[in-house]
Amino acid sequence: MTFCIPLTPAAESVPVALASLSAGVGLRAVHHNEVLETRPRVGWFEAHSENYFARGGALPRILGRIREHYPLSLHGVGLSIGSTDPLSRTHLADVARLVRDFEPLLVSEHLSWSSVGGRFTNDLLPLPYTEEALRHMVDRVRQVQDFLGRQILIENVSSYLQFTCSTISEWEFLGALAHESGCGLLLDVNNVYVSAMNHGFDAHTYLTHIPRRAIQEMHLAGHSKRRIGDRDVLVDTHDGPVCDAVWELYVAAVNRFGPVPTLIEWDSNIPTLELLAAEAHKADRITEARHARAA
């Protein structure tokens, strides 16, 4: 007796030239087949590295087919780069294998940690912004870049609390990290907004103090509001469209940093590809307007 569970229907692959880098969207498994079948008009795709760690089977095959048609970036969510545990060599080796196999345009991770003592929360936990943490992050980013043999980008995360021992602002921390480790920065505009609202700093001050040339990619996403105690807190849920305030901040970011590869992230209540592409085109119109003014 044999029972067969389909993996995925085969899709035809037709080679195309690389599109110019208009805004991209996060690649999610529910869209795999549709991406291959309809080839949506988006600039590029970003894959969460850990989702494609499979050694064989359908996932690497599908990612390879998508890579034939689009530039790709690999975005890590699980390296726990800020942890004081040793870096996982197996995790790094898996990322290195993906880098080799799929030749991504950009490779990124987060200014965060997710594990200690071998216990993983599989979440992006904030670091205390201290001299000690900065030295640690500089060392860890160097280790990762040495292992992969290339530059990586580090992304600012949304945070809901701060450690009272912090002595440095997040923007200073990121600027120093980029300067000392040689990494690039991935500016998540939504995360800047969420953290600014949660901690009461000015998002524009943040943008003004980030070194211009370090920013190599930007993220846009939706967030939601939760009531904790007697105050609202914004939570980085990636479950809806980019809000107006974050679009406004994106305009300011594009004015300051110029047009850099921009990505729409939407990970829960995942919408149609069509809607994702529409969000990406909205970002394109903002970069094009800035370009027109600069010309």
């Binding site: 993996l7 499979a54 050694r55 064989g56 089977g57 699980g78 997710s114 200690v116 599989n122 904790i228």
Partner: protein, 253 residues
């Protein structure tokens, strides 16, 4: 001031067990991270074990998942591994109950998950055997495909699993004593296959999977089925693409 490692250890303790968080500015908000940890774990476990979730119901699955999280937290930055100990966990939890089959269904779902992500490998064919000196047959060893697994159960787990997939609309009555399944889980070109094997075939594969020789595998198979025919079974295994490497003993003098 807390050193970074001390701070991280205390914070993770707070997320798992609710320890003191006086070193954060708004302690109430630790709950957001605690919630992310729990919900992320429950969701990832449910994706890997849809049959168990349906068997026990969503609410009870959440309780099981949280107890499992406390006992077996994630050990990697990649959630693919979290279900590794779920079947043994369920076996212990439901030992000596009417729900002993939960662990076997979980073992089947774990094998399914593993088969999805395992490495590709090129199977050997009958031709590989044709060049072997027949005198050496009993000493041959085979590597099974990385995307394969053997799951033995005293319960009809294939039927139970099938009846409890998310897309299955109607509930089905299954007699738990109707007979067990010996399942070979194997990734084919575009699907994961569950093969219900005869006892002899299964015993032979179990032996080969642990590195036993073909001679030893034949003995295992014949001890459960006197009519077991090795030639037929071997052809069946090769046709499935189950063997990826043949180890021929060094030539005797």
């Amino acid at each position: 001031m807390l050193a970074l490692r001390e701070l991280q250890s205390r914070f993770v303790d707070a997320l798992f067990a609710g320890a003191d968080v006086s070193y954060v500015d708004i302690p109430d908000r630790v709950e957001i991270y605690r919630n992310n940890l729990r919900e992320g774990f429950i969701k990832a476990l449910a994706i890997g074990f849809p049959g168990i979730e349906r068997l026990v119901g969503t609410e009870y699955f959440r309780r099981l998942a949280l107890d499992f999280l406390a006992a077996y937290p994630s050990r990697a930055g990649n959630l693919d591994h979290i279900g590794e100990s779920f079947a043994p966990f369920l076996a212990e939890r439901f030992a000596n109950s009417g729900y002993a089959y939960f662990a076997d269904v979980a073992a089947l779902e774990w094998a399914h998950q593993q088969a999805l992500v395992a490495a590709d490998a090129r199977p050997i064919t009958l031709d590989a055997l044709r060049v072997v000196n027949p005198a050496d047959y009993e000493h041959l060893r085979f590597d099974l495909h990385p995307a394969s697994a053997l799951v033995r159960s005293a319960f009809p787990i294939i039927r139970i699993w099938r009846a409890n997939q998310p897309e299955t609309a109607v509930d089905e009555q299954i007699d738990l004593s109707e007979g067990g399944d010996n399942v070979l889980v194997l990734r084919a070109a575009d699907c994961i296959e569950f093969h219900r094997l005869p006892a002899g075939d299964f015993a032979a594969l179990e032996a080969l999977a642990t590195g036993a020789s073909l001679g030893a595998a034949l003995e295992s198979a014949q001890s459960v089925d006197a009519t077991f025919d090795l030639g037929t079974a071997l052809r069946r295994f090769l046709a499935l693409g189950l063997f990826v490497q043949l180890h021929v003993p060094a030539a005797s003098t």
